[in-house]
């Protein structure tokens, strides 16, 4: 899940009687699973919440290039290097679709970038954790992309047309990434003793941060209730987290790796795994900027933006010269 704790602006859901005519018509369209398109009327809260959510998702994609990019120059074979390059390129492409989807709501990419750089907008907490050994690249694909897919698959049905269409393309690529990640994990887990150790180490470090990706429990959150009524959020965080655990634990068992949770056990009655919640105080610290890599990640993006200012200015100046020349002719 690349958007965490997105706050809607509403104070809870309005009853039909409290809604204006426009709001009622809008809600009827959403309820009937009609797609809302950029030029359609929409409540201001819907627009603002979507900008936050899509923007945060886009930022996550581009900041997410960094932990994986960290291993491109050290990838152990040419094929792994090529796969990783292709994957990171895909992530940047996802960022591009999402910024475009956000632009249809009346916010420019530059405005969103500024908000990222100033800290006004966040990106997923997961990218503030380091990638320390090669198996981390497997774990990121398997767990991080796996968790993202849990959230993104239902969002293919989201009410906002451009967002839904972006999500359909993104999901296709993400599920591919997840398989590639698991493929690395298999090579590592079934490899030499050293490789096995790397695989276990990666799982130990990425397990709880992956569970945090879904965000804290939101079953009582007014923001989530509003987002769900608008179909820009489809499931609760707890539902998605449970689904992720249920899917992932057997995969870890197949690899012969141990999920770092002593309380993990299958519950016959519920048909679900029982598991330990992540340390939410750690999550809030990471969100506040105190994760292991917050400063480096955001610092890298700000530096890229500032160092690249002359390039963007140069390209603009050239375009203006060219336009002036065409106008003169």
């Amino acid at each position: 899940m690349y958007a965490q704790m997105v706050k809607s602006t509403g104070k809870g859901i309005k009853s039909r009687e409290e809604m204006t005519d426009e709001e009622r018509q809008f809600q009827d369209r959403v309820d009937a699973d009609e797609k809302i398109e950029p030029k359609d009327w929409m409540p201001e809260g819907y627009r603002k919440t979507l900008i936050r959510q899509i923007g945060q998702h886009a930022h996550s994609e581009i900041v997410g290039q960094l932990p994986e990019g960290n291993w491109i120059t050290r990838a152990p074979t040419l094929e792994r290097k090529a796969i990783l390059l292709a994957k990171v390129q895909d992530e940047a492409g996802h960022g591009l679709y999402l910024y475009c989807a956000a632009e249809t709501l009346g916010v420019s990419r530059d405005e969103l970038m500024e908000k990222l750089h100033s800290g006004d907008m966040k990106y997923s907490s997961i990218f503030n954790y380091p990638t320390l050994n090669w198996a981390d690249i497997g774990a990121v694909g398997w767990l991080v992309d796996g968790a993202a897919i849990m959230n993104q698959v239902p969002l293919q049905r989201t009410s906002y047309g451009p967002y839904s269409r972006a999500m359909i393309r993104i999901c296709k690529e993400e599920s591919f990434h997840q398989r590639q990640g698991y493929d690395i994990m298999m090579k590592m887990a079934f490899g030499t003793e050293d490789q096995k150790k790397m695989a276990q180490d990666a799982l130990n470090r990425f397990w709880y941060p992956s569970l945090m990706m879904f965000g804290p429990s939101d079953k009582d959150s007014v923001h989530s209730a509003q987002s769900m009524a608008w179909k820009i959020k489809i499931n609760t965080n707890d539902e998605l987290r449970q689904k992720f655990v249920d899917q992932t634990v057997p995969q870890a068992e197949y690899l012969g790796l141990t999920v770092p949770d002593e309380n993990l056990k299958w519950n016959e009655e519920t048909g679900h795994y029982e598991f330990t919640e992540p340390d939410w105080s750690e999550f809030f610290e990471v969100i506040k900027g105190n994760g292991p890599c917050n400063k480096e990640r955001l610092g890298a993006r700000v530096k890229a933006w500032e160092d690249g200012a002359w390039v963007r200015d140069g390209l603009m100046a050239h375009a203006e010269k060219k336009a002036a020349k065409v106008a003169a002719e």
Binding site: R74, T77, L78, L85, T192, A304, D307, G308, G314
Partner: protein
């Protein structure tokens, strides 16, 4: 030097150029001036690494000692690398990276075009595939050189500085030695010197449009093709080869 020894040498030169340049370009991942450039740079690096797999794969075949493309990439020391010095030069700013790319792409696209006529069908097939990618790389790097050269005063100054820095490293692309002569005689590849005129024309045309001045002075830094590199290559290899070296025999 036998025909196959010269052929092997030639294939290493092709594959090492794309490997080392691909490595350099991949260092940009997530750090470029605009999102579209992050995508384009990753894509360029990906093409170059793909071409490396083909060239070094064929090199291992011709050598006949059972070495794979990965063995050649990950288990040779710097003195066995045959790339030109230009491609191992550090990225510098975005302008330096793009200028290095342009000067290389112009040579690369000409070389690949000629290799499509190679007497060895395997070479011709690799060249046919790679030349489509190289044509796109050249279109993009030439376009950026023009736009940034003829952009603001600052972008112009940076592009001129990049050109001045890289220029003395371009001559090595056109130097011929015994191996080049042997593969040329066998019809496997063109003599590098024969590409110079067309390259000069192409580069002059683009640089002129970019309002950049071609540096005077003909000094040529060389050595890469014979295995004498700059200090930079050792660091590239230390990073690239580390896992393979630290855990010999593992499969990844």
């Amino acid at each position: 030097m036998t025909r196959d020894e010269a052929f092997f040498e030639f294939l290493l030169r092709m594959g090492d150029n794309t490997l080392i340049l691909g490595h350099r370009v991949s260092e940009w991942c997530g750090h470029s001036p605009v999102l579209e450039e992050d995508i384009a740079l990753a894509n360029t690096a990906l093409d170059l690494i793909g071409q490396t797999q083909m060239w070094l794969g064929l090199a291992g075949e011709i050598e006949g000692k059972g070495r794979s493309a990965d063995d050649l990439a990950y288990l040779r020391d710097a003195w066995d690398f045959r790339n030109v010095l230009l491609v191992e030069r550090p990225n510098g700013d975005f302008g330096q990276t793009i200028m290095r790319q342009f000067l290389f792409d112009a040579w690369h696209s000409l070389m690949l075009g000629r290799l499509m006529q190679s007497s060895d069908t395997r070479v011709a097939e690799i060249a046919a595939k790679a030349s489509k990618e190289a044509a796109y790389h050249l279109e993009r790097s030439a376009d950026l050189v023009v736009r940034l050269g003829d952009g603001t005063a600052e972008s112009h100054a940076r592009m001129q500085a990049a050109l001045d820095d890289h220029w003395p490293y371009t001559g090595e692309l056109f130097l011929s030695d015994a191996a080049d002569k042997a593969v040329a005689e066998a019809g496997l590849a063109p003599d590098p010197a024969s590409l110079k005129e067309e390259w000069d024309e192409m580069v002059t045309r683009v640089l002129t449009e970019a309002t950049l001045a071609i540096p005077e002075g003909a000094y040529v830094h060389k050595g890469g093709k014979a295995g004498t590199h700059t200090e930079h290559l050792g660091y590239i290899l230390a990073q690239m080869q580390w896992l393979q070296r630290a855990y010999p025999g593992a499969t990844w």
